[in-house]
């Protein structure tokens, strides 16, 4: 392991089960508990409490892991000449932390009123808890993989656990899950191909063996490997052109499941890519691979893929009229920032990419939870059928507000810090085109999250929502906590950068220099204070200004006219009509067409295969005749 710059310090004590094994065992037992036929309420809270326990266990492990130690599992298996095991380092711990926070939030959210509502609507909340526990366990196992075999096994566990979660969607909306599993199998097969190529060249599937073999690999082999893992992990991350499965699959999943998957599931691809591409192969080696002569190397290609992944799905999100789909499409786009930051390979850039994993996960979780709170109360996520809910669901509004500020990357929320780090790196590294790409993406994000909050919470309340009340406390609590995290880690990014820097060290990247207020060159404590000051001044003016009077939320004001309840006014349909007039023609659905073309091609081939089996006898007779002639000829050829 020395070759990887890791200190192989075992945290397992004298062979007793502590640390990592305990964490994984508790996680596994949670799956068993959710499988068993206990009372739903008890199961739900037991599972949720277990996520808390797991978070506590990880917290206990983390000081040593952040110091560069490695927690190894005592379990090792030898199968077919391969040895596989599990271990946690700072990178695993960082991703596990995010996963556990997301699971805990989703668990609490699903355990109370949401579960009862879901059950009333014909759903099975018990299965949601099972799927959540299974997803968490699968991810924790994946994050602990210590070789390519355990990586593949963890990878498949994560894929199929996500599938189980997605397939809990309403019966009519399960096609998304099916599309996902087809994409995921393609990804798994690409990974399997990478595995056997690695095994062939490195003589084994251990990380250390592969890292040692990398310098001796030819450029062709390395390019093949980068391509294969790029496809495999890229499908999970939904980078272009493999992004078409994600929005539908995530959006149609039951609420807390969407929030959990949306927050972290796709990041497993980034984790695996970081391990293989950054830690084992090394970014300099990737940058040596020329894709189109001297013009574009493999690292540039990945960066450009990341930028297009930011732009296109974000603008697809802009056109969505379903809050769930809008956010799910954003999830794809935000993944681009992480990948872009990571492949810059600089201290600040890669830290920005990794930090964005955390920041985005918190924002996306809170946003989706807020949206599903609205769905829970109103029964719809259709942005054309909502509005004015701010007075009815103020806490959900607040959570959504915090979330969109973070997602759009505006101060003082955490999303600003990570995006700032990526922007600064692109400018410093002399990549103006990439920088412009990210800014275009961010513009799209700001436009679409405004649409989101406006159409749900602002404007005029709809008549049918007059009696709507705030979501139950079990749903509000996780939203408030996550909002708090978004604000706190926005003003004090140093809290998370502790973990990020340790993860960078694990990956062999230069470590970011930072303080509690943020990385070098940015002090969020000051930014936060300035904003607080501004808000204070605003509040003062508000207080000093004349008497305010409450208005009926059904009343509104538009274009200099007071609109009363008698004049229904809700500007939501065709929200960005003007903008769409300008850019609408650019939506060409190219990838969707490519995908359906591929499906049609496979169908065509399938029809051909059917035809073959139907019309075989004449062909068979020909084969027979040909074989006999060949035999006769061979006889003659030998001269008898």
């Amino acid at each position: 392991m020395d070759g990887l710059g890791l200190t192989a310090l075992t945290l397992t004590g004298n062979g007793s089960v502590v640390g990592l094994d305990l964490l994984l065992m508790v996680s596994f037992l949670t799956v068993v508990v959710t499988l068993g036929g206990l009372n739903l309420r008890i199961t739900a809270w037991l599972a949720t409490a277990s996520y808390g326990v797991q978070l506590y266990l990880l917290w206990g492990l983390s000081p040593a892991l952040l110091d560069g130690a490695v927690a190894e599992s005592v379990y090792r298996f030898n199968v077919l000449g391969h040895s596989m095991g599990w271990r946690y380092d700072a990178l695993s711990a960082f991703f596990a932390l995010i996963t556990l926070i997301a699971a805990l939030a989703a668990g609490v959210y699903a355990s109370g009123g949401w579960g009862r509502g879901f059950q009333k609507a014909g759903g099975a909340p018990g299965l949601v808890h099972l799927a959540l526990a299974a997803n968490l366990f699968a991810m924790l196992v994946l994050l602990g993989s210590a070789d390519f075999l355990s990586l593949f096994i963890g990878w498949e566990m994560v894929s199929w656990a996500s599938f189980v979660m997605m397939v809990l969607a309403r019966p009519a909306d399960r096609d998304g899950a099916l599309k996902y599993i087809t994409y995921a199998t393609a990804g798994a097969m690409a990974l399997l191909a990478a595995l056997v190529v690695i095994n062939h060249h490195a003589g084994g599937l251990g990380y250390a063996a592969f890292a040692a073999a990398v310098p001796g690999l030819s450029a062709t082999t390395l390019a093949l490997l980068v391509f294969l893992v790029g496809v495999a992990f890229g499908i999970k991350m939904a980078v272009l052109p493999f992004h078409l499965w994600q929005a539908r699959a995530y959006a149609e999943t039951p609420g807390p499941g969407t929030a959990f998957l949306g927050a972290i599931s796709a990041r497993m691809g980034l984790y695996a890519l970081a391990v293989v591409l950054v830690q084992l192969i090394g970014l300099t080696r990737v940058a040596d691979l020329n894709v189109f002569g001297e013009v574009l190397d493999a690292r540039d290609l990945i960066a450009w893929v990341a930028v297009f992944t930011i732009i296109l799905p974000t603008y697809t999100a802009l056109k969505q009229n379903d809050a769930r789909y809008l956010l799910a499409w954003h999830g794809i786009g935000q993944g681009g920032y992480m990948l872009l930051g990571l492949v810059t390979g600089t201290a600040v850039g890669s830290a920005g990419g990794l930090l964005h994993v955390f920041n985005y996960a918190m924002c996306q979780a809170v946003l989706l939870l807020a949206v599903f709170s609205v769905v829970h109360r109103t029964g719809t996520a259709d942005l054309n059928r909502l509005g004015g809910l701010v007075a009815r669901m103020p806490l959900s509004f607040l959570a959504l507000l915090f979330g969109i500020i973070g997602l759009a990357g505006l101060p003082p929320m955490n999303g600003f810090v990570s995006k700032w780090m990526v922007y600064v790196t692109l400018v410093r590294e002399g990549e103006p085109l990439l920088f412009i790409g990210t800014v275009v993406g961010t513009l799209g994000t700001i436009l679409s999250v405004f649409k989101l909050i406006h159409n749900m919470f602002l404007g005029s309340l709809r008549l049918e929502h007059e009696s709507v009340s705030e979501a139950p406390w079990t749903m509000v609590l996780p939203m408030m906590v996550l909002s708090g995290i978004i604000l706190a880690t926005g003003i004090m990014p140093g809290l998370v950068l502790d973990w990020v820097a340790a993860a960078q060290a694990t990956l062999g990247l230069p470590m970011v220099q930072y303080e509690l207020g943020g990385p070098e060159g940015l002090d969020m404590l000051w930014v936060g204070a300035a904003l607080l000051y501004g808000i204070g001044v605003g509040a003062l003016l508000f207080m000093l200004g004349g008497r305010s009077h409450r208005v009926n939320p059904l009343d509104n004001y538009a274009g200099g006219h007071f609109l009363t309840a008698a004049n229904r006014y809700h500007y939501s349909d065709n929200f960005y009509a003007g903008l769409m007039h300008l850019i609408g023609g650019w939506y060409r659905h190219t990838f969707a067409r490519l995908e359906s073309g591929l499906v049609a091609f496979v169908n065509w081939l399938g029809a051909g295969a059917h035809g073959f089996f139907r019309s075989m006898p004449p062909l068979l007779a020909m084969v027979v005749v040909a074989a006999l002639v060949a035999a006769w000829w061979a006889e003659g050829g030998v001269g008898r």
Binding site: I153, L178, G606, P617, L620, A631, E635
Partner: protein, 506 residues
């Protein structure tokens, strides 16, 4: 007596006992109709009783076997003049599996007409006895004879229920199989005219004579001929019709076990008599075509039985691709995939008995009470393993094949890998489209329909799969031993020659 002499004496007894699992079912098959006239209740249990007896014999031999392959000269005539059985880990395993699966998939008599049922019993016994013989045969002639017996028995079984569709499918099967027999016989004849022997061990010494266009033609003819049962491309067009019309237990037996025994026969010939590159390339090419056509056709299938039949063709394509790899790597992967398929496909076919009709009509099929839910879950387990999801055994089988293909470092093998991985994606798509549909809420309630016997058999096979998952490491070691033995052509020749010398000395 020295220790080795005692061992030799034991071997002699064991050797002769080795003939029992072939002879007893064949004998019972011919006596069964007569017995049915004399004493019906006994006739009904005679078949399973004979098979249980054979199983005891095989297990006894297996448990007393020292792990060294041996050859049995039948009737005391030593090869190459006499005919012999060759017993190594692989043939013993497959002989035992044929008997076990025969017992597990024993046809139940559920019609009022007893004589039909007894006919089915007799034909099943014939099928099993001949298959065991095929697995053990040490010479081409015997192989051909047993193969013909297998064919005859399976024609009867396919049409035994007397349905119109069964007759049509059976006729198609008869035509293709008949052509196959002609091809195989031509191949055998070609080999005999060029080498003067049909003993496989003897052929192992004469590989030089077969390393020519004519030798390759002979191999191609034998492979295509025996390949009819092994679902080899392109002589597998009978498969979808027959598997979708024959009684499910018969289908399960044909798809699960008999196809593998036919593969085994082809592989024996390949390893011993055709060590050259061309014969392997032929199998590789046919295997790849089998995967492509099978999986694509399965993707477009409209009913469950045909979908499984085409999937079976695809899986056997994988088996052929695996066996086309030189050395014990290929044999390992081939045995692993074959064994995996042998457990899974019968289970799936039994479940499919009650999932007839269009695939689109299966909506809510797993939501009709506990039995159907269980059946649905077993289906999902089988499907996961077929796709190769770790840690199920299907994954390890596919991993070993992928490793073997990459190790060849040739463009053709990489192409085969690409096809195999692509086919897996297609496979996952059609299997889980069905699975998702089955777990949707039913639009209209249906009566629970899964037969207890079928469901129990499928569950038992699912249990085997789970045990295999847990015991994957020792299972891998075991298959490695089998593969090492089977891939050792020189060992085969030496074993038969030295046993023949001993036989003469006696």
């Amino acid at each position: 007596m020295s220790a080795s002499a005692i061992m030799n004496a034991d071997m002699g007894v064991m050797g002769h006992a080795m003939a029992l699992p072939v002879v007893l079912p064949l004998l019972a098959a011919f006596l069964l109709p007569t017995l049915n006239r004399i004493f019906r209740p006994m006739a009904r249990i005679a078949g399973p009783a004979v098979l249980a007896g054979c199983l005891v014999v095989l297990l006894h031999i297996g448990s007393h076997w020292d792990g060294q392959p041996f050859s049995v000269a039948l009737g005391g005539f030593a090869p190459p003049l006499g005919i012999n059985f060759y017993v190594d880990g692989m043939s013993l395993l497959f002989a035992t599996l044929v008997v076990i699966m025969g017992l597990l998939l024993w046809p139940s008599i559920h019609t009022g007409d007893d004589s039909d049922g007894i006919r089915e019993h007799a034909l099943t016994l014939l099928l099993i006895g001949a298959s065991v013989g095929l697995a053990l045969s040490g010479d081409l002639f015997n192989m051909y004879v047993f193969y013909e017996l297998v064919s005859v028995a399976s024609f009867g079984l396919v049409a035994v229920r007397g349905t119109g569709a069964g007759y049509v499918a059976g006729f198609r099967y008869l035509m293709i199989s008949g052509l196959g027999s002609v091809l195989a016989l031509t191949g055998v004849a070609l080999i005999y005219t060029h080498t003067g022997t049909l003993n496989i061990a003897h052929l192992g010494l004469l590989t030089g004579k077969l390393d020519s266009a004519i030798g390759l033609t002979a191999f191609a003819l034998i492979a295509l001929g025996l390949g009819v049962k092994a679902e080899l491309f392109p002589v597998n067009t009978w498969v979808p019709e027959v598997y979708s019309t024959a009684p499910r237990r018969i289908t399960a037996l044909l798809a699960g076990v008999i196809s593998k025994v036919a593969v085994l026969a082809i592989i024996r010939v390949l390893i011993l008599a055709f060590p050259g590159e061309e014969a392997r390339q032929l199998l590789l090419a046919l295997g790849v075509l089998g995967i492509i056509f099978g999986e694509l056709a399965a993707y477009r299938a409209r009913d469950m039985a045909r979908m499984l039949a085409w999937s079976s063709i695809g899986q056997l394509g994988l088996v052929f691709v695996a066996f086309s790899l030189p050395g014990d790597v290929g044999v390992f992967a081939g045995i692993a995939i074959a064994l995996h398929h042998l457990v899974i496909k019968p289970g799936l076919f039994l479940l499919a008995e009650h999932w007839g009709g269009a695939l689109t009509a299966l909506e809510g099929e797993a939501r009709q009470g506990a039995g159907s839910l269980w059946a649905g879950l077993v289906f999902v387990l089988f499907a996961l393993s077929l796709v190769g999801v770790p840690p199920l055994p299907g994954f390890w089988a596919k991993l070993s094949l992928a490793q073997g293909l990459v190790a060849q470092e040739s463009a053709w093998h990489l192409f085969a890998l690409l096809v195999f991985l692509g086919a897996t994606v297609v496979e996952a798509n059609y299997l889980f489209t069905v699975a998702v549909r089955m777990f949707k809420p039913a639009s209209k309630p249906r009566p629970p329909r899964h037969g207890v016997l079928n469901l129990a058999t499928s569950s038992a096979l699912a249990g085997v799969l789970v045990v295999g998952t847990l015991a994957i490491a020792p299972l891998g070691d075991y298959i490695q031993t089998l593969a090492g033995q089977s891939a050792d052509a020189a060992g085969y020749v030496t074993t038969v020659a030295s046993d023949a010398v001993e036989e003469r000395a006696r």
